[in-house]
């Protein structure tokens, strides 16, 4: 991986600055800012046309960060837990847009859990990043649905409820791209975002993204200390945008190359256990085993591109609904005359 020099341009002549947004107002060191910078880096590397991307979010610290990247893309900082519905509507209106959404564990795991699962069930093609820190930040330190069982916080006391695993929820809802990562693992986050942008369907990346203010003590599984000490990437992941057959590495069990529908390849070089992301049952077992053993496994957990997207399920043609002309929108007078005669 070469780091682009400052001011360098990508394939469509844009600089990294063209993908940036307003200055962050999050706490210094917030995991969400690391994720935002990898979103910028991924879009720059992919040379995405800014007008093709829309940045979507709900409410919360993570959702605020939609303002901190893609300043040249339209965006909607919507309602708490309701980003999935707004994104679904935007996709149906214009399925040529590429939505990237940032959400949090409260936004997705509590108030928006139903909308999250229904969006995945519909398979709205988008990058869905959950910046998961196990705590409510903007309201100052309440437990979230992903907080560790038995965890204690300054004001909230002890959490007596088990955590919801958002990757497991995504799998059960039928999501075809389920990944977990760690804000402290910049390369993995970036490569996953690139792969997610190229995925044909909903792509969920649950990024453990520490809250430095309320939940960064070392006992928290959502802290930098814990993440750095315990993260176990199941593979070293590289996104290869233009795949050349000659690059194929044949080392069974060591490298898996998965080709996405429009050409690029995700290369996974085995690090830990041998996991086949095409196996849904294996993905569930992986999540369940890591929960039982309190392991922090990261990487691409599940990949299946076969499900149709919502636009495909609806049978929509190439032309976006938002681009229909007046003549296409309003049937002619003869059509109304025929209807009148049927009701007469």
């Amino acid at each position: 991986m070469t780091i682009a020099p400052k001011g360098a341009t990508n394939a469509i002549g844009l600089t990294k600055a063209d993908y940036k947004g307003a200055a962050s107002t999050l706490c210094a060191g917030c995991g969400h800012d690391s994720v935002a910078s990898q979103i910028v880096a991924a879009a720059f590397d992919l040379a995405l046309a800014p007008e093709r991307v829309i940045r979507m979010s709900g409410i919360g610290c993570s959702s605020k960060s939609a303002a901190y990247f893609f300043g040249r893309s339209h965006g909607f900082n919507s309602l708490h837990g309701r980003m999935p519905a707004v994104t679904t509507g935007a996709h149906v209106a214009n399925h040529t847009l590429l939505p990237l959404a940032v959400s949090g564990d409260g936004d997705t795991g509590s108030i928006g859990l139903g909308g999250f699962k229904h969006l995945l069930r519909r398979n709205v093609p988008m990058v869905y990043i959950i910046e998961n820190n196990g705590v409510y930040g903007l309201t100052k330190g309440q437990f979230s649905a992903t907080s560790d069982l038995g965890a204690s916080l300054k004001y909230a006391g002890t959490n007596q409820l088990p955590a919801i695993d958002l990757c497991m929820e995504a799998l059960i809802a039928g999501c075809g791209f389920v990944a977990r990562s760690f804000a402290g693992d910049a390369k993995q986050v970036r490569e996953l975002i690139k792969a997610a942008f190229s995925f044909h369907g909903s792509a969920v990346i649950d990024v453990i993204s520490p809250c430095v203010t309320f939940n960064n003590h070392d006992e928290s599984t959502k802290s930098y200390g814990y993440g750095k000490a315990h993260e176990e990437p199941i593979h070293d992941l590289t996104f290869i945008p233009h795949y050349d057959e000659m690059q194929l590495e044949v080392a069974p069990g060591e490298v898996r190359d998965v080709r996405l529908h429009d050409g690029p390849v995700i290369r996974m070089r085995r690090l830990g256990l041998d996991h086949d992301p095409a196996d849904r049952m294996a993905a569930m077992l992986l999540l369940e085993r890591s929960r039982a053993a309190s392991e922090f496994l990261t990487g691409l957990i599940y990949l299946d591109e076969r499900r149709p997207t919502l636009a495909e399920t609806l049978g929509l043609g190439a032309q976006p609904l938002a681009a229909l002309s007046a003549a296409q929108l309003r049937p002619p007078p003869e059509a109304l005359a025929a209807i009148n005669s049927e009701f007469g």
């Binding site: 707004v86 509507g89 214009n94 938002a322 229909l324 296409q328």
Partner: protein, 607 residues
């Protein structure tokens, strides 16, 4: 049975109530009666009073024939079809003296009144004429009362046949089977109840009142209107009484918006709840498509937060509220006009929405398309308040008329226009109407992008919590509301120079109020009328109130919600605005309205 005195027949002025069991197929029978009478050129309409239930509960269908064209629920119904033994005794008790009761003579129930004409029908024997397979025989029983009623009041058999052909879309077998039962019942009734026919007061005679007219329900008219307004996304959640609107959209969009290659240029998404339904509409409106949802009161309350967001983020969206009675279960199948205040102010933090109030099925069609033009012109959610009575019942109407104006997509800036302008200020107000120009996602110009959010933005739509920025924004939204006041459909005014009393009303109450006005006029009390067609209220309404010493506001809710809005609108005349507000789940009757307008006026007069 008492002998009835000969009286001159009453022609084309009657009402029939068919009391049946829901899920028994009686809707087909009742619609056939209505359509046949409609085809005879006689003004007719029907109201279905049905339970919140799939099958087995009582339902009452009232058919009103009125040569004067009155369509309100009739206060007096002289012909009873008592086909539900569970409610028959109570139904019979309601029948006015001298009325007629048709009932299954081979059923378990026997009527016990001698001041009405009783017609027992051999239902099983007559239904056999249809040669139906056993599971369909209950449906056939309903056709027995169709045939008997046809003989009793003079519905033409040829028109009943045409009505069946319409219902069964010309499928020959069900048309023939059902018509055989109707014919058999008609023949039997004519032969065996001949003496009854000669004393029967109520008769039909063909007229020519329906030339060019159509018979349609408000939900279907609304759906068609939306289609001629270019609706491209319906996101909805099933709810009575709005489901028919979504069903009609599904039917007619498939027909009118499928491309030559077979692909739809529309989408229908059944959402997981009403929150998501409006969320999808807002997302699609933001991305530039004409999107709508249809719901009823409970859905409206769930949509509150999105309604506020769309208002403040200034996103076009259309919401149909087919109103019903109150929350939860119990009376979801009964009508009301009870969502006026909640919808007008839906949201939090100073929201006042555009609300359209269709008063007829023709206006349901008009609101169907004009709601989109207003939503995009004003960049705001537009609510259309229909109700169960308007939405689910069949009404005679002039034909639906094609929109005169082209689609109004509002102020939109293309990449070329941005290039020419050299700047983009999303919430500028260059025209003084409170409306800025918007850009759509996908616009490639580097200036086009903007991040939408509810509050906390300045004129350039950049994050700002500065008090002066928000105040300026709220002031501009105020100007936009004033623009809306002028753009929305204006009230329909009918001034009677002799009248000191004004009557103000809206929506489906039109039918009862107009008939009540004719009763009051006949009783020596002329009135002027103002039918409101939208919120916000405007100058014509203020002028009408100023012109009349007293105004009675008639509406189908308990608290007089529109009266309260009128008092806010004309505070200097607050005390002259009297209220006739009533909510019992049924549409208003003219007699009730006339009586209570008189009472309201009397109570206001000094002793």
């Amino acid at each position: 049975m008492r002998p009835f005195p000969q009286a001159p027949p009453i022609v084309n002025d009657l009402a029939v109530v068919a009391a049946t069991v829901n899920g028994s197929g009686s809707q087909t029978a009742n619609n056939a009666i209505i359509r046949a009478i409609f085809r005879m050129g006689i003004p007719v309409n029907g109201k279905n009073l049905f339970p919140s239930n799939i099958q087995g509960e009582p339902t009452w269908f009232t058919i009103r024939v009125s040569k004067a064209g009155h369509t309100a629920r009739p206060a007096r119904v002289p012909i009873l079809i008592a086909f539900n033994p569970r409610t028959a005794a109570a139904d019979l008790a309601e029948l006015p003296e001298g009325g007629s009761c048709l009932f299954p003579g081979d059923g378990p129930w026997r009527p016990t009144r001698d001041d009405v004409a009783l017609y027992p029908l051999p239902v099983r024997q007559l239904a056999a004429a249809g040669n139906f397979e056993p599971r369909m025989r209950d449906y056939a029983a309903n056709m027995v009362y169709v045939g008997a009623l046809a003989a009793l009041i003079g519905i033409e058999l040829v028109e009943l046949h045409a009505a069946l052909a319409h219902h069964f879309k010309d499928k020959p077998r069900p048309v023939a089977q059902n018509f055989a039962v109707i014919e058999a019942a008609h023949a039997w009734f004519t032969e065996h109840q001949h003496s009854a026919l000669s004393t029967q007061h109520y008769r039909l005679a063909p007229m020519a009142a329906n030339q060019g007219k159509i018979l349609i329900d408000g939900n279907t008219a609304a759906a068609l209107g939306a289609i001629f307004g270019g609706v491209s996304l319906l996101a909805w959640y099933p709810i009575t009484p709005a489901t028919g609107l979504a069903d009609a959209l599904s039917t007619y969009l498939a027909r009118l918006r499928t491309g030559p290659d077979g692909s739809p240029s529309y989408a229908i998404v059944q959402a997981e709840d009403e929150i998501a339904a409006l969320g999808m509409v807002v997302g699609a409106g933001w991305a530039g498509a004409r999107a709508m949802t249809s719901t009823s009161g409970p859905g409206i309350s769930l949509m509150t937060e999105f309604a506020g967001l769309a208002y403040f983020a200034e996103i076009p969206s259309v919401v149909w509220d087919v109103q019903r009675v109150g929350p939860s279960t119990g009376m979801p199948t009964r009508t009301a006009q009870g969502d006026i205040l909640s919808t007008y102010f839906l949201g939090h933090g100073d929201t006042r929405h555009v609300v359209l109030l269709p008063g007829s099925v023709a206006e349901c069609f008009e609101c169907g398309y004009s709601a989109f033009d207003l939503a995009e012109r004003l960049q705001t959610p537009v609510f259309v308040l229909s109700d169960l009575d308007l939405g689910m019942n069949l009404w005679t109407s002039p034909p639906l008329t094609y929109p005169e104006q082209p689609l109004d997509r509002g102020k939109l800036l293309s990449a070329e226009e941005l290039e020419r302008l050299g700047r983009f200020v999303r919430f500028a107000d260059p025209d003084g109407d409170g409306i800025g120009a918007r850009t759509l996602p996908g616009n490639p110009h580097p200036l086009a992008a903007t991040l939408s959010r509810g509050t906390g933005h300045n004129e350039r739509n950049v994050y700002s919590e500065k008090p002066e920025d928000w105040k300026a924004n709220m002031d501009r939204l105020g100007r936009k509301h004033e623009t809306a006041r002028r753009l929305v459909p204006q009230p329909v005014e009918e001034l009677d120079p002799a009248a000191e009393l004004g009557v103000i009303f809206y929506g489906s109450s039109d039918a009862a109020v107009q008939e009540a006005r004719s009763l009051l006029r006949a009783g020596g009390l002329p009135t002027s009328a103002l039918r409101l067609r939208a919120l916000p209220l405007g100058e014509p309404t203020r002028a009408f109130v100023a012109r009349h010493e007293r105004c009675v506001v008639v509406e189908l809710n308990q608290d007089g919600q529109m009266r309260d809005l009128l008092r806010l609108h004309c505070p200097e005349h607050a005390t002259r605005l009297l209220s006739v507000a009533h909510s019992d789940g049924l549409p208003l009757t003219a007699e009730f309205v006339a009586e209570h307008v008189l009472l309201a006026v009397k109570q206001e007069l000094p002793a």
